[in-house]
Amino acid sequence: MEVFLPIAQVFVNPVEILLLSAIVGVLSGLFGVGGGFLMTPFLIFLGVPPAYAVANEANNILATSVSGSTTHYLKNTLDYKMGFMIVIGGTIGTALGIYTFTYFKGIGKIDTVISLAYMYILAIIGTLMLVESLREIDREKRNLVVKKKLHVHYWIHGLPLRMRFPKSKLYESIFTPILIGLLVGFIAAIMGIGGAFILVPAMIYIIKMPTRLVPGTSLFVTIFVSVIVTFLHSFNYGSIDLMLVLMLVIGSIIGVQIGQKLGEKIDSSGLRALLAILLLVVGIAIAYDTFFAEQIQTEITGVSNSDLNFFSTFILEFSKDMPFFYGLFSILFAVFLGVAAAFIRRFVSNFKKKILVKS
């Protein structure tokens, strides 16, 4: 069974997409990493053109980060002030990223750039993660305890225009979060990822925020960055395919719930090395695809508009006739799905608590 994606103009197997996004969701929930840097390469392997994979994954990230952020909002574990500072940088970074994207799309090299960017990011994260987890395993075997310095000061801490962030209990230069946001926004725009793998370590080790505020604030920033990325991709290139987004969101939201539940039951630190190896394998698969595999001409599907069903025709015409409103609709669609998922999760957990109290 295959479904035709009206915007990306390719046939995909919905079961494969749902299954893969659920698996990536499980990994995200289990290891606390965003799934973007795994799901976008998987979409490319499934035949979705890279430029479309990036845009649609950004919309999927919007839905999952809205869902996660709503949960943190309800728990009051968010630093809005710090979040907005990062968002300012993120907005500038996203605009720069889209400009770069447009440049490479103009010279016809965007697919190579996306593949190379993924390959290097996966190789770097995979290598660092593998080395760190092997060190951790080695230390555990030898029962070594490493004493870490309480405060390490980098040049970034000497920047001017300091401001108080009461919730995080910090007195920090406004340029620190802005610079971090700039980097995250730039990468998010080109690669269609949330950027949590940069944001979370930066918030902990560079900004030195309390760990309990980090996941919520990171998700809060991701919402804004992915809103801008989604809108700009949709408005400039009309590359958001709501059919694909729906499949991705359903799979990843279910997967994240399963991953979080698994994470509560098992110790995932030993599995981190396996995730690192998975990242390295995906990285080398992209390298093979980019450098060595023969260029396969993408099959022209030749589906005429009259063959499309009502939903596909609606998406196609809506995106062509009203790109601005289509972009807004894509954002609202993802936000609605994300909030609905958060409330369903809360309802289910309250329901479970009631049953436990009764029994």
Partner: protein, 51 residues
């Protein structure tokens, strides 16, 4: 006699420890070489693509 058995046991433990260390060194070298080969492929591939 007892002293000799103790000495033999002690040297056995030493040999096992050494073998374990050797195994760990082999694994570490293997991982290091694999990572080096991995990065080699990526860097050479990029270089070839852009030339």
């Amino acid at each position: 006699m007892g002293v000799l058995t103790d000495q033999m046991q002690f040297s056995n433990v030493k040999i096992i420890n050494k073998l374990q260390n050797l195994k760990a060194t082999f694994i570490k070298t293997g991982i290091f070489l694999s990572l080096a080969a991995y990065w080699g492929v990526i860097l050479v591939g990029t270089f070839i693509t852009f030339n």
